[in-house]
Amino acid sequence: MFERLSVMLMKEFLELKRDRWAMFRLIVPLIIQMLVFGYAATFTVHHVATSILDLDQSQASRSLISHFVATSRFNVVDVTQNRDDITRDIDQSTATIAIVIHAGFGRTLGNGQSAPLQVIVDGTNSNTALIALGYLSQIVAQFSEDQSSRAANFRADTAVPEIGISLQARPWFNEGLDDRWFFIPGVIGTLTLLQVVSLTAFAIVREREVGTLEQIMVSPIRPVEFILGKTVPFFLIGLGDIALVSAFGIFWFHISFIGNPWIMLLGASLFLLAALGIGLLLSTFSRTQQQAFALNFFFVNPLFILSGFAFPIAAMPKLLQWFTVINPLRYFLVVIRAVFLKGVGFEVLWPDLAAMALLALVMLTVSVLRFRKSLD
């Protein structure tokens, strides 16, 4: 039934072998992108440039400043008594955050009252600003706790019991709250998707462009055999990609992998089938490699953004959330993150696996039907 498949496969691997740069093109960009993502893609905010306007010049204000100097989250670039310095620092981006300690800060605290502290933040990068403000409030909370316990020591005889809730956060799965642990598994899925979709689309369009597609189609080979011949090698390359990049994440970036490798293999296989379907579909809409390139560019970015790789799906408008439903990357990211970090199994992941299986089935069917039509 598939007697002509083996010769297609033989030809594909021969071409791949003949192409001296193939291995280079398949592997090196993946590794480099993995490194770039691993080191650069992070939400963690370190060394936020900070200017402090100290109009109080008291022991309390100096103590607060020393809290900021002591942490690596902030980098105090300027301590000044001149209001204009603050404006200049923010305008010139010398500082992202400016803290204003008003005159009377220490006295008010000494009287056991709460004192206001003004913070000016450069909101250009809303994400950094938000995170920096979070750290800032932690430090201020720490400072005020120190202050009140000191005050309490002075008045030990008239001790008033402090009432408050102290939050003890205990993150599961990623105890260090390391962004890399979140990003790296996502990068594996994303890079593989990009590679497999474009490889498949380009390879088929190339045969169309060179005229070999027509030549093959006048032989008794069936379209399905041709498609299998073109896609099986990319399926294997895709699995190899995932294995390679995963190994890199585990051994180089020390991401934990506590799940079941078989679930990972199952998820990766379904995901790759869906990716091949997308690539095949793109190829049926393109007559030339330039067209395929343009289409690939048009499709792949939304797939990436609407996947939950970096931006939470729950925060997207309803319409866009609907688009994520037909995005195989969305489901694979759930599976790969769960397998790497959570170690949960089939009993939890089956809806995502089933969704990928369904998507793969639909996309492959549609693209095979379209492929037949595109031969005319």
Partner: protein, 312 residues
């Protein structure tokens, strides 16, 4: 002609692409062992007919039988008997000559022994035997086209469909190419060829003149020439272009065709018209020239019968 002697039978073939009617009710029968030529200008529908015969394009209406097999209903079975060679044969440039032959042989389920013997014969005939291990991408244009023919013939087809196979091929390779074709015909292979070269059209046993998707005439080259109304005169002159403009529309002139260094003029009555044209041209001061009767070529016939500039 019994049905057994018919290699290709097309009946009322019709195909449209959107609003464009590419082929309209084309009917023809090609006998076994014929070299049948399809002649027509670009866009006449030659490639569309070829692709329908090859079973890669479905006709909107009509029937095709190749070697007795219905191409539309039983494409896979028909394809085993057919070989289709488009204007540029699809070779894998990263594969060697031998690997390309291997690949196309396997696609048609050619046995290993047959592939080796036949491959050798064909390579030898094409003069490619020394280049078996060369990458196809490193062959010259003519050699690539001959390799295409070798790949197209590796499964010993009963019917060979060639779509302008020698366009852009050097004269030596073209000669080799035709030698292979004649040899094939002797072995009973039917050849269906479309061509833009008039000298190649002359080599065919029968020709179909195609215009705007319809077959206007179909006969042997000799009979087509006989069917041409009027007689042909050739006028050699230093400026044939202005000559054409002077002669067009003169009484008794049925058609004027510029042929490089000369003009072909089709007239109703040469005895009467030669002196008439001579005096006309002398009066126009057209300079030195020579007028004499000429044998019509296929292009003259095409223009006379179809009323359109031909293919060359």
């Amino acid at each position: 002609m019994t049905t057994n002697d018919i290699a290709i039978h097309a009946q009322r073939l019709t195909k449209s692409f959107g609003a464009v009617r590419a082929v309209q009710e084309a009917s023809f029968a090609v006998s076994r062992g014929e070299i049948f030529g399809l002649v027509g200008p670009d866009g006449a529908g030659k490639t569309t007919i070829m692709r329908m015969l090859a079973g890669v394009l479905r006709p909107d209406a009509g029937e095709i039988a190749v070697d007795g097999v219905d191409v539309v209903a039983e494409a896979e079975r028909a394809k085993l008997r057919i070989s289709y060679m488009p204007q540029r044969f699809g070779l894998y440039e990263d594969l060697t000559v031998a690997e390309n032959i291997f690949f196309y042989g396997e696609l048609f389920s050619v046995s290993r022994d047959a592939r080796i013997t036949r491959g050798r014969e064909l390579l030898e005939a094409a003069g490619l035997l020394p280049f078996q291990r060369r990458l196809a991408g490193q062959l010259s244009g003519g050699m690539k086209q001959k390799l295409g023919l070798v790949c197209a013939l590796i499964h010993t087809p009963r019917v060979l469909l060639l779509d302008e196979p020698t366009t852009g091929v050097d004269p030596v390779s073209r000669r080799d190419f035709w030698a292979i074709l004649y040899n094939l015909r002797e072995n009973g292979v039917t050849i269906f060829i479309s061509t833009a070269y008039m000298d190649e059209a002359e080599r065919c046993s029968r020709l179909a003149l195609l215009h705007a998707g319809a077959i206007r005439h179909c006969d042997t080259p000799a009979r087509l020439k006989q069917a041409m109304p009027g007689a042909l005169l050739a006028i050699y002159a230093s400026d044939p272009r202005s000559l054409r403009d002077i002669i067009s529309g003169q009484p008794g002139v049925l058609g004027v065709l510029l042929m490089g260094d000369r003009v072909h003029v089709r007239v109703d009555n040469p005895e009467r018209r030669i002196p008439q044209l001579k005096s006309l041209l002398a009066g126009q001061g057209a300079g030195e020239m020579e007028i004499k009767p000429a044998e019509p070529g296929i292009e003259d016939v095409f223009v006379a019968l179809v009323g359109q500039e031909g293919t060359a």
